[in-house]
């Protein structure tokens, strides 16, 4: 047998967002596929049953006999490549484990909420709590990746993916759990602004630190680079207190013209007066106050604009121009807001904040629709599209776009949507059930992972559908039973999810495995779990044969360990009683040992091939000084011998000519005579 040469080290797989897996180096030389195809070559493959891998090889389309003699041979003809298609990166394992725990708890919480008196409240509260935990896990993952110090393309993409996932998750939480739950419908504006500031960070914080460093005097502040751009951003993002404070600090500056100083003070004071709603105030009252403030902003914008157009004034006063922009933003001027915004999300935020501060979730579709009209859709990222679909309440489209961002996201979002009752519209539209579809894909991607197989099984099992259960069963029986601990874990999973057929198959597999390794007690234990009496019988036969071959009764510990677990089997009882017989005989308790061996024979628990040996074992007892067997007992022994006569075992013994059964017959006759005399 030849030793196989391997060349494992120079091969890598890469994949990108086009879902193409590249092999480096390729199975064929680059650019020569057509030529190889003409040379009778194609690719053959076998899908790995569990772990998202393919065994891949260059293959001959026709056999050697059927092809032209001058067909070339290639070194690659003999290679097989086993490559992964969708592995879970190591960097994600911790995140997967964390969110798996949340997923499991969410399913439990929702199952419990069904039996609660106030189902909706318990359900919403539970989902909101779990949603927060999911987001915490995403934020932690972003932090961990950022702090990893690794600066490669993959880490950058992962950070971007997790930021996208968090942004989407946070928004769906606001739209369906925070502001728009059954019995509660509040303004989406403030949560939206918080979402915007949390997920679409700008340079606001850094700019703020730089500008406020010192702290500067009013004159120094007026000369700081980027001051007015910063103030405009504060207005756009709704940081009105910060804006008012900054303007207030700027006002004494001698750098400002007199009109500019006046308007800095006026805008600052006006900004401070921006109405803030509270639970104590009715929405009607708030709207009246808002309207007044908004008109004040418009008036202010108009006055500044008039001033700038006044030929006697300095129309190039950049401070006045910036104050005009700020006033226009705060008066809800869409054109100014659009012109000043970096993201479309900023426009939506500012428009809502300054024009519709009480807008609820149902206003979002028309607002976002009007805003994105200004954009080329080709400029949109998958994240943009997903957010627009969500804000537009186009949940089927949203779900599909989530799946393009990450399979973790689509699976967990579909699950969340199902729990909060908004997946039904998708279920009506799609051919397949989205929750099942995405959770299956996610669960299967984890099952083949060395450290995540348990997590994967939970995802499959907790789908709660027949398909999920079937797929789980197919996977669970194929998991490598590497250790006793792992086998126990797998069996526990089977019990948890009531996979009785899989459990039975695993016990049989473990039984065979232990048997092969000589761990006969453990093997019997597993076979007993599935009532595989045939296999237990065969192992007992093996123990008996080993005893006969060696003459040493060494199976005691094996049998005791099995019996202590409550396993019942005739053959086992036979071995136990036979061991007891030996022990009592060795202790000189002949009467007791006689009773035991007789009970073995009468209860017919011994295999037929062992009966002759048992009868031979009675000879010393029949011949002992003490009368062990009564006449009735002796008749029973003789009956057993009679039933054995003519059997292949008896013939075999006779042909061996050892005459043991003849001696047994004589011993019986003598014992019978003694028994009659004694009685």
């Amino acid at each position: 047998m030849q030793k196989i040469r391997t060349k494992v080290d120079k091969f890598v797989v890469s994949r990108d967002k086009e879902a193409v897996t590249h092999l480096f180096p390729g199975l064929f030389p680059a650019g020569r596929q057509a030529e190889w195809s003409e040379q009778n070559r194609t690719l053959t493959f076998s899908i790995h049953p569990t772990n998202n891998k393919l065994a891949l090889a260059v293959a001959g389309k026709q056999p050697r006999e059927s092809i032209k003699r001058d067909t070339q041979t290639f070194e690659q003809d003999q290679s097989v490549t086993i490559c992964g298609l969708a592995t879970v990166p190591d960097e994600r394992v911790s995140f997967v484990n964390d969110t798996h725990a949340v997923f499991v708890e969410l399913q439990t919480t929702m199952a419990n909420s069904i039996s609660a008196s106030d189902k909706t409240a318990v359900g919403v509260e539970g989902v909101l709590r779990m949603s927060g935990l999911y987001r915490e896990a995403m934020l932690k993952q972003i932090r961990v990746l950022q702090e990893s110090g690794v600066d490669d393309e993959f880490i950058k993409e992962e950070i971007e993916t997790f930021q996208s996932m968090h942004g989407i998750w946070h928004l769906i939480e606001i739209m369906y759990l925070t502001t728009n739950t059954p019995g509660l419908s509040t303004s989406v504006v403030s949560p939206y602004m918080k979402w915007l500031n949390a997920n679409f960070t700008t340079s606001l914080v850094e700019d703020g630190k730089r500008i406020a460093e010192g702290p500067p005097t009013a004159d120094e502040l007026a000369e700081r680079d980027g001051l007015w751009e910063y103030l405009k951003k504060l207005a756009l993002r709704g940081h009105v207190s910060a804006l008012a404070n900054m303007l207030e600090r700027l006002e004494p500056s001698q750098q400002l013209s007199a009109p500019a100083a006046h308007w800095v003070r006026t805008v600052s004071q006006s900004t401070k007066r921006m109405p803030i709603g509270s639970n104590e105030e009715t929405s009607g009252s708030f709207r009246v106050r808002w309207k007044q403030w908004s008109e004040e902003q418009r008036d202010m914008a108009k006055s500044i604009s008039d001033l700038l157009q006044d030929s006697s004034a300095d129309t190039h006063d950049s401070v006045l121009q910036a104050l005009l922009t700020i006033s226009e933003i705060m008066s809800g001027n869409v054109d100014t807001i659009s012109a000043e915004s970096e993201y479309w999300q900023d426009i939506l935020g500012a428009v809502m904040l300054y024009s519709e501060p009480t807008a609820q979730v149902d206003r979002l579709p028309s607002l976002v629709g009007a805003i994105i009209e200004q954009y080329e859709s080709s400029d949109f990222t998958e994240l943009d599209r997903a957010l627009v679909a969500l804000l537009s309440h186009d949940l089927p489209e949203f779900l599909i776009l989530c799946s393009r961002i990450d399979p973790w996201l689509s699976a967990h979002i579909a699950d969340l949507m199902s729990h909060i009752g908004i997946l039904s519209i998708c279920r009506r539209i799609f051919t397949l059930d989205p929750r099942e579809h995405y959770l299956l894909a996610l669960g299967e991607s984890y099952v083949g992972h060395e450290d995540l197989w348990r997590v994967g099984l939970d995802y499959l099992g907790l789908i709660g559908t027949r398909t999920g259960s079937s797929v789980m069963e197919e996977h669970v029986v194929r998991l490598p039973l590497d250790s006793d601990r792992k086998a126990e874990q797998i069996l526990r999973v089977c019990d948890t999810y009531k996979l009785t057929r899989a459990r039975d198959r695993i016990h049989r597999q473990l039984g065979r495995q232990k048997w092969q390794r000589g761990r006969l007690g453990a093997a019997i234990g597993h076979f007993a779990q599935v009532a595989d009496t045939a296999s237990i019988g065969l192992i007992c036969d093996q123990l008996w044969k080993e005893y006969l071959d060696s003459g040493k009764l060494t199976y005691g510990s094996v049998i005791d360990s099995v019996i202590s677990t409550g396993v019942e089997h005739d053959r086992l009882m036979f071995l136990v009683k036979y061991r007891d017989f030996h022990e009592s005989y060795r202790a000189g308790e002949y009467v007791e040992s006689g009773k035991i061996i007789l009970s073995i024979l009468l209860s017919e628990i011994a295999p037929s091939y062992a009966v002759a040996d048992l009868l031979v074992d009675t000879i010393p007892l029949l011949e002992s000084d003490v009368l062990v067997f009564s006449s009735d007992d002796t008749f029973e022994l003789m009956r057993c011998a009679e039933s054995l006569a003519g059997s292949s075992e008896a013939k075999h013994r006779e042909s061996n000519g050892n005459g043991e059964l003849g001696i047994f017959n004589i011993a019986c006759s003598r014992n019978l005579a003694r028994a009659f005399v004694m009685s």
Binding site: K3, F11, T50, P63, V80, T467
Partner: protein
């Protein structure tokens, strides 16, 4: 771009072209077969492989290998250009040996497939002589060979067993009982047809229940998807005509009709809107039946999955030459 160093490449030490490579039930063993007339066996363990054995009994190129369900032991079948099918069994300590040589075919045996384990150790074989044979290890302990003549007049290229549990029947009581098991298979041949065969208890034989027409050239492979509880049966086929079709058959609405031989119509869907660039040689489903892998003569393997809308989407592609597709 992600990279991954878990890829394993190794030399099989075959002396000629490989024709098939198959992983076993657990993905722990790989069997390869070649024009050199041998089968090579490897143990695969994560990032390592170990050569186990060379099996040499065929007298011609070995086309396909197929692992039996592990409940029958460590059993492998192989079929060859020499017109024979061999069944190999591993005995602890003495390795693999041939336990059955099936030589009832008069030409190359191109395809083999073990029946679902619930039906017992039954091997389906398709040959260039136009016949299909079923090799069954009977309760009496002998191999019984049943021959279906003129299955595909000009040669059989592919065979595949249907799942034993009927589509839509999972939730029904007794679906896994022996009497309810579906006994059907599909075959594809040089006559451009796919035939669906079902077992008739009264005749104790398999007979054609449906001919699926549509391919315009030799059918190269057929593959039933495993039944994971979906309400329909999926069959994939590929052909010399560069097309891949997904044939679906809805489960019968009434419980009474949910057993075998139910005659719902088959619906044909083209996997991709345009034909593949070259002959499509092989179609194969993942274990749970939700991913279809397609091997094309353009030397790419593409993976496909049904999306939420019931359309087939390419989810991945293996590009063999290291260049962007």
């Amino acid at each position: 771009m992600m990279t991954n160093n878990e890829t394993l490449q190794f030399d099989t030490q075959h002396e000629d072209m490989i024709h098939d490579a198959q992983l076993d039930y657990y993905g722990k063993r790989l069997a390869t077969c070649s024009s050199d007339g041998t089968i090579h066996l490897f143990e695969i363990n994560g990032k390592q492989q170990k050569f186990v054995a060379t099996l040499k009994e065929h007298s011609g190129p070995v086309w396909q290998v197929s692992w039996a369900h592990p409940k029958f032991g460590s059993v492998l079948a192989s079929c060859s250009y020499d017109g024979t099918v061999l069944i190999w069994k591993e005995t602890p300590g003495s390795g693999f040996s041939v336990i059955k040589k099936h030589d009832k075919h008069q030409a190359s045996v191109n395809a083999i497939a073990w029946a679902p384990h619930e039906l017992g150790p039954v091997l389906l074989c398709g040959s260039s002589d136009g016949k299909i044979s079923l090799l069954t290890f009977t309760e009496e302990g002998i191999w019984d060979a049943q021959i279906i003549r003129n299955a595909h007049a000009t040669g059989v290229n592919a065979v595949s067993w249907a799942p034993v549990i009927a589509a839509g029947a999972f939730a029904q009581p007794g679906a896994t009982q022996k009497a309810s098991l579906v006994k059907q298979f599909a075959s594809g041949g040089c006559d451009q047809n796919i035939k669906i065969w079902a077992y008739f208890e009264d005749k104790k034989t398999y007979d054609v229940v449906k001919v699926l027409e549509g391919h315009g050239d030799w059918v190269r492979d057929v593959a039933y998807a495993p039944n994971i509880g979906l309400p329909r049966t999926y069959l994939a086929s590929c052909s010399q005509d560069k097309n891949v079709y997904i044939w679906t058959q809805d489960a019968p609405i009434s419980k009474a009709a949910a057993g075998q031989n139910a005659a719902s119509d088959w619906v044909r869907t083209q996997l991709s809107s345009t034909p593949f660039p070259d002959v499509v040689w092989r179609v194969s489903w993942s274990m749970s039946g939700n991913v279809l892998a397609v091997s094309c003569g353009d030397n790419k393997i593409t993976l496909w999955k049904e999306n939420l809308k019931g359309e087939w989407e390419r989810i991945s592609e293996i590009n063999e030459n290291g260049q962007r597709a």
